[in-house]
């Protein structure tokens, strides 16, 4: 499975590098939303729960753009048939797609977090950066696990652009609650987040449940 998953992942990253269809769109969307909040709220700086909420909602909505496009190349260019004809474990397709989405999210956050700090944040983020990176990493795994599953479900539907957010966002409510709650103390200027371990454990459990669930049902999704 590893060989096939790596081959599919490498192919996807190469295509993204050439077409630049997902990551730049996500980053541009996130920065635009921060600019809109900057002017819309008419405040020079934010902190605490409001800042955490804006950061996580923006990341989630930007992720929808990548989820929408995750399987499009397979559908439009016959990749599904090529993958189904090959003697590979179909779980490899899921693992590759979820990993690609995880990397897109990390690249998005490399742009979005500094932009957020610059445009909206009233506190110095640097001292809390290790904690913030840990929270985002664990949350991104869950986001990628659910996102790849929803992308596969929606890709053959005509209303893909509508189906993806309708399915994805409710499923990600626990991620946004835990992500925002874990991040809030960091954005209040506290260098150590209260209850961070508890929220990370919750996110880890969410990741495990959805990775196992997705691996279990992905084979059936590719049938017919």
């Amino acid at each position: 499975m590893t060989r096939a998953a790596l081959a599919i992942l490498r192919k996807d990253l190469r295509i993204e590098l050439r077409t630049r269809e997902s990551v730049p769109a996500m980053a541009l969307f996130a920065v635009t939303v921060f600019v809109l909040f900057h002017f819309g709220l008419d405040r020079d700086s934010l902190d605490g729960a409001l800042a955490a909420g804006i950061l996580w909602v923006t990341v989630l909505l930007a992720a929808v753009l990548a989820v929408n496009r995750l399987f499009v190349v397979e559908r439009e260019q016959g990749g599904f048939d090529g993958l189904l004809l090959a003697p590979i474990d179909r779980t490899a397709v899921y693992v590759a797609k979820a990993t690609a989405l995880l990397l897109y999210l990390l690249m998005l956050e490399l742009v979005a977090v500094p932009a957020f700090a610059l445009l909206l944040l009233g506190v110095d983020l640097l001292p809390a950066l290790p904690e913030l990176v840990a929270i985002m990493l664990v949350a991104d795994v869950g986001l990628a696990a659910v996102g790849a599953l929803v992308a596969a479900l929606a890709v053959e539907t005509r209303a893909r652009d509508l189906i993806v957010p309708l399915l994805l966002l409710p499923l990600l409510v626990p991620v946004i609650i835990a992500g925002a709650a874990a991040t809030e103390p960091l954005l209040t200027g506290l260098q150590t987040a209260d209850g961070l371990g508890r929220w990370l454990a919750f996110l880890g459990l969410y990741d495990m449940v959805f990775v196992l669930l997705s691996v279990g049902i992905f084979d059936f999704l590719l049938d017919d």
Partner: protein, 202 residues
């Protein structure tokens, strides 16, 4: 109906007769709604997994990524099938694409794409070839070039869908005529002749 190993089954019929659907069922890409299908010893769809990697499929869609080069596409499929990279280079030369192997597929002509798709279909040396209008977009020289790979000379069992009735009959051992998803005529191609098959199109 039954097709022996090494034989070619010619499938004929007007547009919408179900020729491509039949190929997709044989490739285990679609589930049959009725009847039973056994391909290379695998009962479909229950044993579809047995068939993976044993079928070469050359359909309307070349199954190539437009942003990747011809070489990158073949190397990707080679990795999925566990085929050595040396075979990719040999096949690119065999289909006359050695010099354009570094070009993205979106920059290639229809005929060139079809040649790369043919190389992709035989990359893993499959015993069974499913061919849907394999000559589409190819000039006579290219058809000749592909003959050892996907033609009768390849020695593989083939299912060949074509609208060229005379050419298809000459290539086939067994012929099947379809109309509206149903078998209308079937039998030895040499005995059937083109006349009965041409009636399908009227």
């Amino acid at each position: 109906m039954r097709v022996q190993g090494g034989q070619t089954l010619g499938v004929f019929g007007p547009n919408g007769a179900g020729k491509t659907t039949l190929l997709r069922v044989l490739a285990a890409l679609l589930r049959p709604h009725a009847g039973s299908v056994r391909v290379a010893g695998a009962a479909l769809p229950e044993e579809a997994w047995k068939l993976r990697g044993r079928v070469g499929y050359l359909g309307h869609d070349p199954l190539l990524y437009r942003e990747l080069t011809a070489r990158e596409n073949l190397r990707f499929h080679a990795r999925l099938h566990g085929v050595a990279p040396e075979r990719v280079e040999a096949l690119l030369d065999a289909v006359g694409m050695g010099r354009r192997a570094g070009d993205p597929v979106r920059q290639l002509s229809r005929g060139m794409v079809q040649r790369v798709a043919a190389a992709r279909a035989v990359l893993h040396d499959p015993p069974l070839l499913l061919l849907d209008e394999p000559g589409a977009g190819l000039d006579p020289a290219a058809v000749e070039l592909l003959e050892p790979l996907i033609g009768r000379a390849s020695g593989r069992t083939r299912v060949l869908v074509t609208h060229d009735v005379d050419g298809g009959i000459a290539e086939s051992d067994v012929a099947l005529g379809l109309r509206a998803g149903r078998q209308v005529v079937a039998g030895a191609a040499a005995e059937m002749g083109a006349g009965r098959l041409l009636e399908l199109y009227r």
